[in-house]
Symmetry: C2
Subunit: 412 residues, 2 copies
């Protein structure tokens, strides 16, 4: 029986096949995400992987349904596996924001699901690091969030030569559109053309833009100018004060596809341009109000960073560590009469916090020693009799003999 197409199995290392992902690699990434988020004062939250379909259509319109894992449950509810975390966050914040000081700084590591037509190697699920800052309009909040994004990528060993944050703003494009005489009713259509500019045929973009009173040349000139607005300059200055200037550049080509962004937007890319975006985010000042039906109105911004592209880049740059199983001690049982005392020793070593392995059943000495080596244990331990144990450091070859009861103290 096979798993569903587009889904992943996470095996322990060593990997039986060629996939980058393993449970160990995943855990390595999750721990880094958690550690850096906490340094920045972000707190963890999570919501259900299954939500009312309405939560996602309210935010993104009915057209999103085509990309969702949605269905009717047995209670006749229209439900969907979550394709993104932000609507759930907005729902949760709207329900209990009074219990939390502003700004709220929260992160989550949800698994997300999209039912897109299957493309070669394209996944239908991934894990995403989501960090959001809620209740602050000042660009200092944008800078704090972008600094977290940069430091998260740096924690994996990536440098300013590996990646860059392309920083932009819908406000800048809004001004451009307005000053060029654009009709407000078509502003989001205009944003969509900009979003697709890099991937579309020039004639097609030209056609769409001229219908709105603009030209590709005009748009490209604005992009090339790359002149930061006051808001973006304030973010750049803030990041420069932290010593992060080299990790960010203004790039108005970035505008983000989703309808709900309201101000600053940004994406993280590898400098060589080999991979899809590593992360993306921006301001969504109206979403909490929308989701709460007008009850709670809080400005917000956030980003999402998926595990798939990140893993590919880390692998390509040789930045994934080896995930050896970290066993500390292998207890050799060569005399079966000493098995009960050996079990006692094993239990005491584990109680002291050590990772301990041993032969479950009677096993030849050489096979036991081979297993100890495979497990890359630091030490072996073998009972001399019912009172004493011989501990051998496999690296230094030093041996000591000590009482069973205090053996754990001799493993430092």
């Amino acid at each position: 029986m096979e798993r569903l197409p587009g889904f992943r199995d996470f095996y322990p290392e060593p990997l039986p096949h060629q996939d980058v992902w393993s449970a160990d690699a995943r855990q390595y990434i999750f721990e880094k995400w958690r550690a850096i988020a906490r340094r920045y004062g972000f707190r963890e939250y999570d919501g259900p992987p299954l939500e009312p379909l309405e939560l996602f259509t309210t935010k993104s319109g009915a057209e999103i349904v085509g990309q969702l894992y949605n269905f009717m449950d047995k209670g006749e509810r229209a439900v969907s596996l979550r394709p993104e975390m932000t609507p759930t966050l907005a729902r949760m914040v709207a329900a209990h924001e009074r219990n939390y000081k502003k700004p709220i700084k929260w992160f989550a590591i949800p698994q997300l699901f999209r039912y897109e037509r299957q493309q070669k190697g394209r996944l239908r699920e991934h894990f995403q690091f989501n960090a959001d800052l809620i209740g602050e309009t000042d660009p200092a909040a944008d800078a704090e969030l972008i600094a977290l994004l940069i430091d998260t990528l740096r924690a994996f060993g990536l440098t300013a030569e590996d990646f860059v944050i392309r920083l932009s703003s819908r406000n800048a494009w809004h001004d451009f559109f307005k000053h060029g005489g654009g009709d407000t009713a078509h502003e989001y259509d205009f944003f969509q053309v900009i979003d697709k500019l890099e991937r579309s045929a020039p004639e097609e973009s030209e056609k769409k833009l001229s219908a709105m009173g603009f030209s590709v040349a005009q748009v490209n000139e604005f992009i090339t100018s790359g002149k930061p607005t006051a808001e973006l300059q304030s973010i750049l200055d803030n990041l420069a004060a932290r010593g992060l200037k080299d990790f960010v550049k203004i790039d108005y080509q970035v505008i983000r596809g989703l309808a709900y962004y309201t101000g600053v937007v940004f994406e993280a890319f590898d400098r060589k341009g080999e991979f899809r975006a590593i992360a993306g985010g921006g301001r969504y000042n109206n979403l909490v109000k929308l989701i709460s039906g007008g009850k709670v109105d809080l400005p917000a911004l956030g980003f999402g960073m998926g595990d798939v592209v990140l893993l590919e880049i880390l692998k390509a740059r040789g930045l994934l560590p080896k995930f050896d199983s970290p066993m500390d001690v292998y207890v050799l049982i060569e005399d079966e009469a000493l098995r009960p005392d050996s079990l006692k020793l094993i239990h005491e070593l584990r109680a002291a916090g050590y990772a301990v392995e041993y032969p479950l059943t009677p096993t030849k000495s050489d096979k036991q020693f081979k297993r100890a080596q495979e497990l890359k244990v630091a030490r072996t331990a073998r009972l001399e009799n019912d009172s004493y144990v011989r501990i051998r450091n496999l690296k230094t070859r030093e041996e000591i003999v000590t009482g069973i009861a205090g053996a754990a103290n001799h493993l430092g």
Copy 2:
């Protein structure tokens, strides 16, 4: 907009409502599960939360569908959210077992889903610690797994006075049934009656048992005798050698409902009997063969421990720690001219591994200090000028003044 009934939101502490669960409590539990599993040499794995429906019906029969979150996906595949982890494990092991030494010792912490008719407070999802040992028939494997179960519960502060493992065996019941003249074709029906004995009316059980040639009195006598089989005695001896005798007792009342168990079965209960089972498991020696269509035949056993009952017990016993947000330093910014240098300091402290918070925007001194106290930081740091920083230990009230560059070294 509300979340779906039977699903949980996980907020950071402090909790805005009365639920036991928070993202912090969940993380606390997950970390303990991981830590103890690793001491026992178990490696982490995971599979997709969505699987082909057939994976679950193959194992448990078509009647399980009534309890599943199953649906047709957009590619006309019958799929289901996973109600348990064992079928996925069997599928994964069957696919790549040759890459792993036996016995395979793996654990996972999946979220599981069941669509049961909504009862008061009954959840439709929970997280479950699954530990399985594959490729070993000897009762030493059963003892190793049960020892892991016991030590996991002990890691939360629970003692032999709080909980007990009720140990039983389908082999013992098989012998009882066979010696009593039972018809092999009805053996599983017989097991079902035993499983429901505690919860059923005596007349009902009597009626069903007598149809198979048995009586409630006869069955109760066997349960009361509690005489361990040789296999169970070997497990008891093994656990006694580890000093875990007081955590386990023979109890033939336990037989487990699921069809696929083949030998030893067990459940962990609180001694006071206030809660549902904390954990349960047993041997399923035929399942890998069944799931792999006969290709791979490996004996196996495992247990599952849910987060919901565990959390309730820990709360009832006062064993849940306080989950204060663990911030190390609050950087006070009292002179806005020093904000850029303060940002530099903040960034350096974070880079050194400290959790640092600060006022994002200009804020009155007293409000900043209040916030620092709310965050229970160990220290505040305030720039004296563009070169020096004053660090104050809030507990000892000691202060030092040091250069910005080396400030992180003075926080030990």
